[in-house]
Amino acid sequence: MSRRLTHTLGSLGQEILLVVVILALFAFVGVYNPRFLSENNLTSIFVGNAYIAVAAIGMSLVIISGNIDVSIGALIGVLAVISGLLVTNGYPIWVAWLAPLVVGAAINAVVGCLIAYARVPSIIATLAMLSILSGGLITFTGGQWISGLPAGYQLAQFRLFNVPSPVWFMIGMTILAGFLMRYTTFGRSVYAVGSNPEAARATGISYKATVVKVFAIHGAIGGVAAVLFATQLQVIQSTVPVGLELVIITASVVGGVSILGGVGTVFGSTLAAILFAAIGSSLIFLNVSAYWLRAVQGILILATVLADMARRRRTG
C-alpha cells in the first residue's frame, strides 16, 4: 500500500513538473514572439493535437497494465477510413461516429486475447497487428483519399462555449479515465496486474480478463481519437500517419507512465501530449528546424525513464 502511495506521489511529481515546463515554455516563447500566446495559436496547439492526447490515455492504460501497443497509429488510420467510408456511403453520421469505437474495441479485444490467453508478448502481437492493419489499409483503399464528406460530419470542428470539441474530448476523457483508474476496482486491478502479475493473481485479480478489458477500452478510446482525426479536415487520408504510434507512446512515457508497468496516471500523458504540441508550434515561432522536435522528444523520454529508474531504486 505504501509503495503505491509513493508511486502515486512520484507520478504526481511528474505531472507538476510537466505543468511547470509547459508554463515556462509558453512564457519563454511568448516573450520571444507574443503572437505565440494569441488565442488563435493556443487553440491550434490544443485542437490539432487533441487526438494524440486522447489516444495516449488508452496507451497509458496499456502500459500501466505492463504491456505495449505499437499498432495504435495504424488502428487510428483504419478506423478513420471506416468512419469516412460509412458516412460517404450513406450511413447516418452518428453511425460513422460510433462505429470506430465498436470496431476499435473489437479489434483490440482480439489482440488482448492473443496476449492474455495465447501468451503472445504484447510487442509481438501488436507488431503483427501493425503490419496487418497498415498493409490491409493500403491494399483496400489503394491510397485513395476519402472526400465528399457531408456537412455536419466534422465533429472536430464543432464548438461548445466557443471551445472546440477536441479540447472537450481531451479534458473530459482524461478526467473520466483518471476517475476510472483511481476509484474503481478495475483501475486498481490494472495497476496490480502491471506492477506484479503473480501477486495480482494471488489476490484474486484475473490477469487475463484485465488485459483483455484494457485492450478493448484502449481500442474504443482509439476509436474516439480516430473520429477526431477523421473529422478535422474535409478529406480523410487513407494512409497511416508515419510514426503516430511513437508519438502516442512517447506522450504516455513522458507523462510519467513507467514502461515497466504498474505506475503512472492519464493526467500525465495528456500534459505530455500538450507539451509536445506546444514544442512543435514553438519551434516554428523560434525559427528552429522541426527536426529538433524529434531530438527534444528523445531527450524527454530518456530523462523521464532515467528519473523513473532512479525513483524505483530509491523506493524499491
Binding site: L17, V20, V21, A24, L25, F28, Y32, N33, R35, F36, S38, N40, N41, S44, G48, N49, Y51, T139, G142, G143, Q144, W145, S147, Q157, F229, Q232, L233, Q234, V235, I236, Q237, T239, P241, V242, G280, S281, S282, L283, I284, F285, L286, N287, V288, S289, A290, Y291, W292, V296, I299, L300, A303, T304, A307
Partner: protein, 367 residues
C-alpha cells in the same frame, strides 16, 4: 529537466541565425535552370538517346496499330482521365486502337502479369505507367525483344526497358507555374511561406531550389518567409499551415503547398481561419482534393499536369515511334493538338508546363 529544456531552447535560439540565410530552406544544392520569365525558353539539349529498341519489329508505318495501355491501376479517376486522352488521340489518328487494361490495385506483380499476357496475345504497342521502375523492366524488355513498341507515361521504368517516356513536368516548369501563379494572386511584393514534406525529399527539394532561382530572376520582390516541414501528413500539414498563419498574421499573403497533401490542408487552414481571399494557397494538388475550396471561392487555383493531355501525348508518341518518324536524336516531336513537344533527358518527351486548374475548368476533371 526544466533546465535541460531551457538550455536546449537557448541553444536552438543561438543557432537560429544559421537558418536565416539567403537560401530558401528546404531546397537542395544542385544547379538550377530557371525558365524565361515570359515567352518560350530555349529547349535544353536532349543528350544521347538512352532508350531501348525493339528487335525484329515489322514495318508498321501507317498501318493499323493495336495498342494496350497498362496503367498503375484502373478504376481511379487519375488513370481514367489519361485513358480518355488516349481515346481522343486514337480517334483523331484513326489508324490506332487503344485498349486500357490493368490491375485494379497499384500492384507491381499484377501489372507484370498483365504485360506478360499482352505480349503473348500479340499487340503492336504497349503503353505503361510503372508501379516500380526496376521491377517492371525485365517484362518490358521481353516486349521489346518480341518486336513490340514500348512507351511509358506518368511513371517511368529504367530507360533501356522502353523506347520513350512522356514526362509530365520538369522541376523548372513546376517552379515557373507555382511562382507565376503565386505572384498573380498575392502581387509582386507579397510575403509567402512554404509547406513541404521534408527538407530532404528529393522532388520537393528540387522544386524549391528551382522556385528560388526563378523567383530571383522573375519575381525579385516576392518575400520568402520560411519553409516548414509536414511530412506527407494531412493533420500535421494543417497544423503547420495554421501555425504559419498565427505566427505572421497579416504579413502572410500566400502559402505554397509542395505536396498533394500539404496544399489542401493549407487551404483548409485558411478556410477555418476565415482568411479566404486574404491568404492565397498555391500548390500541387489533385483537383478533387481542392474542389471544395475552389468551388467555394476560398482558393483560386491548383496546379498539376493535365492528365488528359498526358494520355493524348502518349498515344501520339506511340504512333510516331511505330511509324519511325520519332527517332533517337530528334529534338522535338509533333503531338497533334499539343503542337511540338521537346525531347529532354535523352529519351523523354516533355508534356510542357503544368496546368493551372481554376473554378472555370476544375469540375471537368475527376481525379
Amino acid at each position: 529537466m526544466k533546465k535541460l529544456i531551457t538550455a536546449l531552447l537557448g541553444a536552438s535560439l543561438l543557432s537560429a541565425p544559421a537558418f536565416a540565410q539567403s537560401a530558401w530552406t528546404g531546397g537542395d544544392d544542385q544547379p538550377t535552370n530557371p525558365l524565361a520569365c515570359t515567352g518560350e525558353s530555349p529547349a535544353p539539349e536532349p543528350g544521347e538517346y538512352n532508350g531501348g529498341t525493339p528487335t525484329g519489329a515489322p514495318d508498321r508505318n501507317g498501318k493499323d496499330l493495336k495498342v494496350v495501355d497498362i496503367p498503375k491501376l484502373v478504376g481511379v479517376g487519375y488513370f481514367a482521365s489519361t485513358a480518355s486522352g488516349m481515346q481522343e488521340a486514337a480517334k483523331e489518328l484513326g489508324n490506332i486502337t487503344v485498349n486500357t487494361d490493368g490491375p485494379t490495385r497499384a500492384n507491381i506483380d499484377e501489372q507484370i502479369t498483365f504485360v506478360d499476357n499482352y505480349i503473348t496475345s500479340g499487340v503492336d504497342g504497349i503503353l505503361f505507367a510503372a508501379n516500380d521502375p526496376v521491377a517492371i523492366a525485365p517484362v518490358l524488355k521481353k516486349a521489346l525483344d518480341a518486336g513490340i513498341n514500348v512507351v511509358g507515361y506518368d511513371a517511368d521504368a529504367e530507360a533501356d526497358a522502353r523506347q520513350w517516356f512522356v514526362n509530365q513536368a520538369l522541376p523548372n516548369g513546376v517552379a515557373k507555374s507555382m511562382m507565376d501563379q503565386l505572384a498573380s494572386e498575392i502581387g509582386e511584393e507579397g510575403s509567402f511561406a512554404i509547406v513541404t514534406s521534408t527538407f530532404t525529399t528529393p522532388n520537393q527539394a528540387r522544386w524549391i531550389s528551382e522556385m528560388q532561382a526563378y523567383t530571383e530572376k522573375c519575381h525579385p520582390n516576392l518575400k520568402f518567409l520560411e519553409t516548414v516541414e509536414a511530412q506527407e501528413d494531412n493533420i500535421l500539414s494543417f497544423n503547420q499551415a495554421q501555425t504559419l498563419i498565427n505566427k505572421y498574421g497579416d504579413e502572410l499573403k500566400g502559402i505554397l503547398g509542395m505536396t498533394s497533401v500539404a496544399t489542401p490542408a493549407a487551404a483548409e487552414a485558411v478556410q477555418q481561419n476565415g482568411l479566404c481571399g486574404k491568404v492565397s494557397v498555391v500548390g500541387l494538388a489533385l483537383p478533387n482534393a481542392m474542389k471544395p475550396y475552389i468551388n467555394s471561392d476560398c482558393i483560386q487555383s491548383t496546379i498539376l499536369w493535365n492528365t488528359v493531355d498526358l494520355g493524348y501525348a502518349a498515344v501520339e508518341v506511340m504512333r510516331q515511334v511505330a511509324d519511325g518518324t520519332l527517332k533517337p536524336g530528334d529534338k522535338t516531336v509533333k503531338a497533334g493538338r499539343l503542337g511540338e513537344l521537346p525531347i529532354v533527358n535523352q529519351s523523354q518527351v516533355l508534356l510542357g508546363q503544368p496546368k493551372v486548374f481554376t473554378k472555370a475548368d476544375i469540375n471537368d476533371f475527376d481525379f
